[in-house]
């Protein structure tokens, strides 16, 4: 497997895994608070909508010329990836609260318990829409990542295989424990996904713009190293700055 394809599978696996963990939390909260029928109906309906999106967009992306596709996809991934990376760096340096799946689950559960019960077509409407919206929104990110990564790298099936692996793992563990996957190192995974998205975004958008990377696909490793080192450096700089601010505030107090 080439460097590009290995990165493709790993990136799709990690990015999809993070989204599936978040979707699982919402489905579990809806199921436990409002009943499994409405929660699973929402999950099923969202899966059908996502399948339609994939069926409509997947083939359309494969007919676009590769260079134009890489330019557009690279730019989108770069903007998207920088959002993830910025949040991950802010979390790692202490400027933003860490993502806590247990706390999110408790909040969703409390809200779901407190909502009024309205039945439509035999299912609890709140539970259905909670699960539907959660799975659809998290799933759209998975679809976006699988289709853009897959089409730009020339293999949607490989990207889909990475996402499917993550789905099997998260769903399997979720069914086994019936609790939010709080032990998954989600913050570290989000950091890794931000790094991967940004790396692919730089690589493809530069290629799409007409630049030639020395060493072709192998230079992905170089770009990855650059993004990782830059991110670590930024985390350290921001941590130091934050500590200095605290010390200055303490001295003033």
């Amino acid at each position: 497997m080439s460097t590009g394809n290995a990165f493709l599978v790993l990136s799709a696996f990690l990015a999809s895994g993070v989204e599936f963990v978040e979707a699982l939390t919402i489905v579990l909260a809806a199921g436990l608070a409002r009943g499994w029928r409405s929660s699973l109906a929402g999950l099923g309906a969202a899966t059908v909508v996502l399948a339609v999106v994939v069926a409509a967009l997947g083939p359309a992306l494969t007919v676009i010329p590769l260079q134009a596709l890489r330019l557009v996809v690279g730019a989108l991934l770069l903007v998207f990836g920088l959002q993830w990376l910025r949040k991950a760096i802010l979390r790692a340096s202490g400027y933003k609260a860490l993502h806590d799946e247990d706390a999110i689950f408790a909040r969703e559960l409390a809200e779901a318990h407190g909502a009024a019960r309205v039945e439509r077509a035999g299912v609890d409407w709140y539970g259905f829409t909670l699960a539907f919206k959660g799975v659809l929104l998290e799933g759209l990110e998975v679809v976006f990542i699988v289709l853009t990564f897959g089409s730009a790298q020339g293999s949607i099936p490989l990207a889909a295989a990475g996402a499917a692996g993550a789905l099997v793992l998260v769903a399997g563990v979720g069914i086994a424990v019936r609790a939010p996957l709080a032990r998954v190192p989600e913050n570290a995974m989000k950091f890794a996904v931000g790094v991967m998205l940004t790396t692919f975004g730089i690589f493809w958008s530069a290629e799409g713009a007409g630049a030639h990377w020395p060493g072709a696909d192998a230079s992905l490793l170089g770009v990855l190293g650059f993004v990782v080192l830059s991110s670590i450096l930024l985390v350290r700089l921001l941590r130091r700055e934050r500590r200095a601010r605290f010390r200055a505030a303490e001295v003033r107090a």
Partner: protein
């Protein structure tokens, strides 16, 4: 109309997020890379440096507005 606006807002927040300047500067960086490449100049180095600058700038903005 409100549904159309909500649809547009969803995609804006989904792709652009909470710092529009990132998208603008990324587009400028890609444009500059394309211009260098079209002029026959080696251009692969520009985007990584531009991304580092954009990331730093966006972090500063996020910290200031927090």
């Amino acid at each position: 109309m409100s549904r159309l606006a909500a649809f547009g807002r969803f995609w804006w927040e989904f792709v652009i997020g909470d710092d529009w300047l990132v998208a603008v500067l990324v587009a400028a960086g890609i444009g500059a890379t394309a211009a260098l490449a079209a002029a026959g100049v080696t251009a692969w180095w520009l985007l990584p440096l531009a991304v580092l600058f954009v990331l730093w700038l966006s972090l500063r903005r996020a910290i200031r507005s927090a």
